[in-house]
Amino acid sequence: MPPRDELELHALFEPDVDVMNVRRQIAHAGVPEGSIHVLSPVPLSGAASDRIAGIPLYVVTVLAGLVGIGVGLFFAAGTAAMYPLMTGGKPIVAPPVVGIVSYETMMLVAIVTTFLTTVVKVRATNSEIRFRDARIDEGRMAVAIRVPMVGTIAGAVREALEQAGAIDVQASVIMDEEETVAQRVGPAASLLLPIALAGALVGCSQDMQEQASYQSQEAPRLHSPEGSIPRASRGVLKARSTSAGPSEERGAALFRINCVHCHGVQGDGDGPVAPYLKEPPGNLKNDEVRAMTDEQIYGVLTEGKDMMPSFKGELSANERLDLARFVASLSRPTTVRADGSEDH
């Protein structure tokens, strides 16, 4: 709305004035029909009403209604199709349900859009008029005309108004107004703040994260009773269904996981940790180990030997047996195959 040098004339009339006649006179005085506004405390029926520009309101409502149905379809049908969860044997997308929800959203969007259009239209029309005399509400009529400052139209219109019986005519120059936008939005922002804060509070409760029951590895840790043997005990050797590969492979795998860092990849006792230990880890290929039976190696694995810790808690009995067999195979003269390659 660039500031223009214009003048706004206000004429106050008695309620029983013939509005149509006044309007004709002003038009006759050279003012275009569009810039004459008749102000009244109540809607005047029939003739005095100005034509309304722009698309009729009911079209907006109908269009908004269709959009509303689309929104309803998305919410009820679209989401159900995206996250299909069976409930009560009912179809994932149930037509009557989608119908009801779409009906509601249609109404919602239609009414809200109609309202917003009305607000825009009302703002648009009354922004052209600058001044409103409080006495209109006490049973007076008023006519507001906007005329260019320069030129004789203003004087001609003022006369026509006095002739038509105006009680009081005023004129006011149109001022520049740009801060109204901020004026409008400031209170809205302050409204936003509490809502954002309230939203923040909600995400803070931790239902059922703190369980009364003891989760695994939660303090205080208890030990199993001495002497008792559970049904599927780890400490008792049992004939095992050969689920994984042969015993050698399992032994090798366990060796790689548990023993390599001290006894070295080949079992020579030169593992990466060896230099830092007080006593060097045993070389598994020396003859002392070769002389040991599988059971003895199994014993060392179970109880541990001087620096070496007991693996009773780490490995089950069968795992220790596989490991013992593998260690034995390391130091025993490997059965030389026909092609001379050693059997590791």
Binding site: S49, T118, D137, A144
Partner: protein
């Protein structure tokens, strides 16, 4: 012609009368606000106690999972329909006597919808997780289940709340403009904002009237859909006594019936406190009484149809409920309800002198509302206390926590109404003027 002229001159008097409540604040008013605030505080305290310790503070137990909170929710939604029904239908039928009544009724609508929403929160077991009901995108890829009648409820009540706020606000714009020019102080900037710079030009009037003419039928349709959905909350279940096809129309008519009662109360109170005898005339009470007779007859017919089929059909699980109401544990509230919402209205409202007697209409309004509250409770509780497996039959009576919270909610409603009456002119000023002009023109 001179009467029209008299009307024009009298507009100043109308402004003065109808804007009077906005300006003076009497000692009695402050006392009323104080004690209402105390009641609301008690209710809020009881609610926090219930949230803190658990919803076990109520007297609910299996098989009774719904009780007084849902009964209050249905009651307040029912009362909220009065506003839309009266202003909507009366505007559609262009009944002249609607003018002073519409805004009083619409204000009730807004407030009771809010209280209804609040009752839902009282009812939730984990109320701090209410936002699971909102369809917001989340990484858990889970969404509210729109197949549940409660989600229809959520959508419908949200739509209804927004629509009725708009329907209240539109006719208020001219009155805000009028108030903007006459009331100073902290309310002036708010009025300025809310009046959208209203000047009263014919084009604005035309836009406003078309908007109201468009939204009126829509909001009546929304009103009917919302209370049918509230009815379907019960209709969709397998509970004997709830699963009936008549429940939707029955709820809608019930809503209007209790709504009209509440409007009658509103009219009498506003008229009595502000002395607006010549605005709210006996004629209004008479017309309201006529409407009440219509709703009473329809409601009686629907209720009789429902219970007749149960009684004649003699299905054991439904008969048990009927028995518990007619002769069993719930006989006293049942017969009190029958008297309050059917017998007294039919007996008294049919004779014109009673209808025109405001105090009578006040008592009738109060009676109908108490009766309808008990009726909602009797729709919910007896069927739940008599499930099909007789082993689980039980009893229920609200606990003191529930009663405190619900009285707090009622006090909050009245408090909001009383506070709003200081901010919004209770009778639509321009419609009053327009009405008088029309009357004078005839």
């Amino acid at each position: 012609m001179d009467t029209r002229h008299a009307v024009w001159n009298d507009m100043r008097g109308i402004n003065r009368d109808l804007l009077a409540p906005l300006s003076e604040v009497s000692g009695r008013y402050l006392l009323l606000v104080a004690c209402l605030a105390a009641l609301v505080a008690a209710g809020a305290g009881a609610w926090l106690y219930q949230i803190e310790t658990g919803i076990g503070q109520t007297n609910m137990h299996p098989p009774i999972f719904w009780s007084s909170y849902i009964a209050s929710f249905v009651y307040w939604i029912g009362v909220s329909h009065s506003g839309t029904f009266i202003s909507g239908v009366l505007r559609l039928t262009k009944a002249e006597w609607r003018r002073p009544v519409t805004r009083i009724a619409e204000l009730m609508t807004i407030i009771s919808v809010m209280i209804a929403g609040l009752c839902v929160f009282f009812h939730l077991g984990r109320v701090w997780r209410w936002y699971y009901l909102i369809p917001y995108p989340n990484q858990r890829e889970i969404w509210p289940d729109f197949r549940s009648p409660l989600m229809w409820d959520a959508t419908a009540v949200f739509t209804y709340a927004t629509a009725s706020t708009i329907y209240l606000y539109l006719p208020l714009i001219p009155d805000f403009a009028l108030a903007r020019d006459r009331v100073g102080g902290w309310r002036k900037p708010i009025y300025t904002l809310l009046s959208l710079g209203w000047k009263g030009s014919q084009r604005e009037w035309e836009t406003l009237n078309t908007a109201i003419r468009i939204i009126t039928p829509l909001i009546v349709m929304v009103m009917i859909s919302v209370h049918s959905i509230v009815g379907w909350d019960f209709g969709m279940s397998l509970v004997p006594g709830w699963h009936t096809s008549i429940i939707a129309p029955y709820f809608v008519v019930g809503a209007v019936h209790s709504g009209l009662g509440m409007v009658a109360i509103g009219l009498y109170v506003v008229r009595r406190t502000y002395g607006w005898e010549q605005y709210i005339r006996k004629e209004h009470f008479d017309k309201l009484g006529k409407l009440l007779v219509v709703t009473t007859l329809t409601l009686a017919y629907l209720y009789f149809a429902d219970q007749l089929t149960v009684w004649y059909g003699k299905k054991p699980d439904e008969m048990a409920i009927l028995h518990s109401m007619i002769t069993g544990d719930y006989a006293v509230p049942f017969w009190a309800m029958i008297a309050l919402i059917y017998i007294f209205p039919l007996a008294l409202l049919t004779n014109p002198t009673f209808r025109a007697w405001p105090v009578g209409m006040l008592c009738m309004g109060i009676g109908i509302n108490i009766g309808m509250y008990v009726e909602r409770a009797l729709i919910i509780v007896p069927p739940l206390t008599h499930p099909r497996l007789t082993y689980q039959w039980s009893q229920y009576f609200p606990s003191w926590i529930e009663l405190t919270i619900l009285t707090g909610a009622l006090a909050l409603a009245v408090l909001l109404y009383v506070l709003l009456s200081k901010f919004v002119p209770l009778i639509s000023i321009w419609e009053e003027k327009e009405g008088r002009l029309h009357a004078a023109a005839r």
